[in-house]
C-alpha cells in the first residue's frame, strides 16, 4: 500500500514537473513561437482537429493500412513461411533470400515503387505490406525449423501421419516464433507506414505531421506524434504482446 502511494506520488510529481517546465520553456525561451508550443496549445490542437473531423480521418486511414498489412501478413505470410520451412531443402534455400529482403525495408523500395505506381495509395500499401510480410515469413520459417527433431521422431515412432506431425508438433512449436514475427513485422510496418505517408503525401498520420511542419503548426506535430506513439502502445499492449506471451506460455520452448 505504501509502495503504491509512493509510485502514484512520483507519477504526479514527474507529470507536473514536466508540464510546468514545458510551459515555462514555451513562455520564456528566446525562440520563435512555433518552436515550442506550450502543452495547452497541443491540447487545443487536439480539440480543434477533432472538431474539424480531421484527426479521426487521419487515424482511420493509417489504421486501415496497417490492418490490411496485418491481415496479409497473417493469411499469406504465415502459410508461405510454414510451407518454406517444412522441408529442409527449401528452408535452407529461402533463408538467405528472406534475410536479405527483410533487411532492405519497404521504405528502401519506395523510390522504385514511386516510379512504378506514382504518388498514390498503391505505393504506400506495397511498401508497408512488404515491410510486414518478410519478418512474418522469415520467423514462421524459423519457427518450423526450430522444432526439435526429437519431437517429430517421437510422433513418427508412434505411427503418426505427416499431417498429424504438422498439426500436433510443427505448427504449435512454430507458434511462438510466428507470434514474434507478426509483432516484429507490424512494429517495422507501423514505422514504415508513417514514413511512407510522409513521402507519398496523400493522407494519414504521417502526412498530418509532415504537412503540419510545412505550416509551422508545431502543436499539431506534437499531437500527431503523441497519437502515433499511443496507437502503437495500444495495439501492442492489447493485441500483440498478449498473443506473443500466450503462445510462449503455452508452447514456448527455448531453442537456440
Amino acid at each position: 500500500m505504501e509502495r503504491h502511494w509512493e509510485i502514484v506520488s512520483t507519477w504526479v510529481l514527474i507529470l507536473a514537473a514536466t508540464i510546468a517546465a514545458w510551459s515555462l520553456g514555451a513562455a520564456t525561451l528566446p525562440v520563435p513561437d512555433y518552436f515550442l508550443p506550450p502543452p495547452s496549445a497541443v491540447l487545443s490542437a487536439f480539440v480543434e482537429l477533432i472538431a474539424k473531423g480531421m484527426l479521426p480521418i487521419f487515424v482511420a486511414e493509417s489504421l486501415r493500412r496497417i490492418v490490411l498489412a496485418a491481415l496479409l501478413g497473417l493469411f499469406v505470410g504465415v502459410p508461405i513461411g510454414l510451407l518454406l520451412g517444412v522441408s529442409r531443402v527449401t528452408a535452407d534455400f529461402a533463408y538467405p533470400v528472406l534475410n536479405f529482403f527483410q533487411s532492405v525495408s519497404g521504405i528502401a523500395w519506395l523510390p522504385l515503387m514511386l516510379i512504378w505506381f506514382g504518388f498514390g495509395e498503391r505505393t504506400i500499401l506495397v511498401a508497408v505490406n512488404y515491410t510486414v510480410l518478410f519478418p512474418v515469413i522469415f520467423n514462421a520459417l524459423l519457427g518450423i525449423r526450430s522444432v526439435p527433431q526429437i519431437y517429430v521422431n517421437a510422433l513418427r515412432t508412434l505411427g503418426a501421419s505427416r499431417w498429424r506431425i504438422v498439426r500436433d508438433v510443427l505448427l504449435p512449436g512454430a507458434l511462438p516464433n510466428i507470434a514474434m514475427g507478426v509483432r516484429l513485422g507490424l512494429a517495422y510496418g507501423w514505422r514504415a507506414l508513417i514514413a511512407a505517408e510522409m513521402l507519398v503525401g496523400a493522407n494519414g498520420l504521417g502526412f498530418m505531421i509532415f504537412n503540419a511542419q510545412t505550416f509551422h503548426l508545431t502543436a499539431r506535430i506534437m499531437l500527431g506524434m503523441g497519437i502515433i506513439g499511443a496507437l502503437w502502445v495500444v495495439l501492442d499492449y492489447f493485441l500483440l504482446r498478449p498473443l506473443e506471451e500466450a503462445t510462449i506460455a503455452r508452447w514456448g520452448m527455448v531453442q537456440r
Partner: protein, 262 residues
C-alpha cells in the same frame, strides 16, 4: 558434412545459390522485354552503374555518410542510454514510473520525430542524428531498465548475505544480469535505427543512401535506385554477420541466457 575449405566453399555456394537464381530470373525478365527499361533495367546495366559509382566515389561518399551517421548515433546514444537505464533501474521509486514513459517513447518511431526535428534544426545531418538518437536511446534505455529490474532479487540477497556492498551488487549482479536485455536492446536499435536512417535521409538531407535512391527516383534513374537497394542490403548483411551475430554469440556464451525481444 565436409570440413575445411571445401565445406566453407559449399556453405558459401549454398548461400549464394538463391541469389544467383534471382539474378538469372531478373535477367530473363528484362530480356523478355515485359516491362519498359525504366521500370526494371537489366542486371548488367545496374552492375555497370554500380561499378561507375564505385569508381567515381559517389557510392562511397553516400555509404560513408550513412554508416557514419549510424556510428555517431550509436556512440552518443548507447552509453547514455545504458548508463541512465542502470541509474533509473536501481531506484525503486523511479523505475516503475519511467518504464511506461520509456515504453511510450520507444513506441514513437524514429521517423515520427522528423517533422519536429526539421522544425528545430532544419534540414541536414543534425536532424538525422537527432532522429537516430531518439530511435536508439529510448530502445536501449527501455531494455536496460527492464533488464535491471528483472534480475531476481534472490541474487541480490545472496550477495548481501555474503557481506557484499552495494557496489558489489551493482557490478556483479545487476549489470551482468541485465546484459542479455541490454544487448538485445542494442541489436534491435541497430535494426530500427538503420531503417529510420534510410527514411530520414530521403526527406531531410542531401547525402546518404536514402537520399541517393529517393533522388534517383525523381530523375527516373532506376539503375541507381537498384544499386542503392543492393548496397543497403549488403551493408545490413555485413553488419549482421560481423557485428550482431558475434555479439549474440558472445552473450550466449558468457551468460548463457537469451531473452525475448521487446
Amino acid at each position: 558434412m565436409m570440413h575445411g575449405w571445401r565445406g566453407d566453399l559449399l556453405a558459401v555456394g549454398r548461400g549464394a545459390a538463391p541469389f544467383a537464381l534471382i539474378l538469372i530470373a531478373w535477367a530473363l525478365v528484362t530480356r523478355a522485354n515485359v516491362l519498359p527499361a525504366m521500370f526494371l533495367p537489366p542486371p548488367a546495366d545496374v552492375a555497370r552503374t554500380g561499378w561507375d559509382m564505385l569508381k567515381d566515389g559517389s557510392l562511397w561518399t553516400n555509404i560513408g555518410a550513412s554508416v557514419g551517421r549510424v556510428l555517431v548515433s550509436l556512440v552518443i546514444s548507447v552509453p547514455l542510454a545504458v548508463g541512465l537505464g542502470i541509474f533509473v533501474g536501481l531506484r525503486r521509486r523511479l523505475s516503475p514510473v519511467f518504464e511506461p514513459i520509456a515504453g511510450f517513447f520507444n513506441s514513437l518511431s524514429g521517423i515520427a520525430w522528423l517533422p519536429l526535428a526539421v522544425t528545430w534544426f532544419g534540414l541536414g545531418w543534425v536532424s538525422v542524428i537527432f532522429i537516430m538518437f531518439n530511435t536508439i536511446f529510448f530502445l536501449v534505455f527501455y531494455n536496460t531498465l527492464v533488464g535491471v529490474r528483472s534480475v531476481p532479487r534472490i541474487f541480490e540477497h545472496a550477495v548481501r548475505t555474503l557481506g557484499g556492498s552495494r557496489r558489489h551488487i551493482i557490478f556483479q549482479v545487476l549489470i551482468p544480469g541485465a546484459m542479455p536485455n541490454i544487448v538485445t536492446g542494442i541489436r534491435m536499435s541497430i535494426g530500427f535505427g538503420w531503417r529510420a536512417l534510410i527514411a530520414a535521409e530521403m526527406i531531410a538531407t542531401s547525402t546518404g543512401l536514402g537520399f541517393l535512391i529517393y533522388n534517383a527516383s525523381n530523375f527516373h534513374q532506376t539503375d541507381t535506385i537498384l544499386v542503392g537497394i543492393v548496397t543497403i542490403g549488403i551493408l545490413w548483411l555485413l553488419t549482421d554477420r560481423l557485428v550482431l551475430q558475434p555479439i549474440e554469440r558472445w552473450t550466449v556464451e558468457r551468460w548463457g541466457l537469451v531473452s525475448s525481444s521487446r
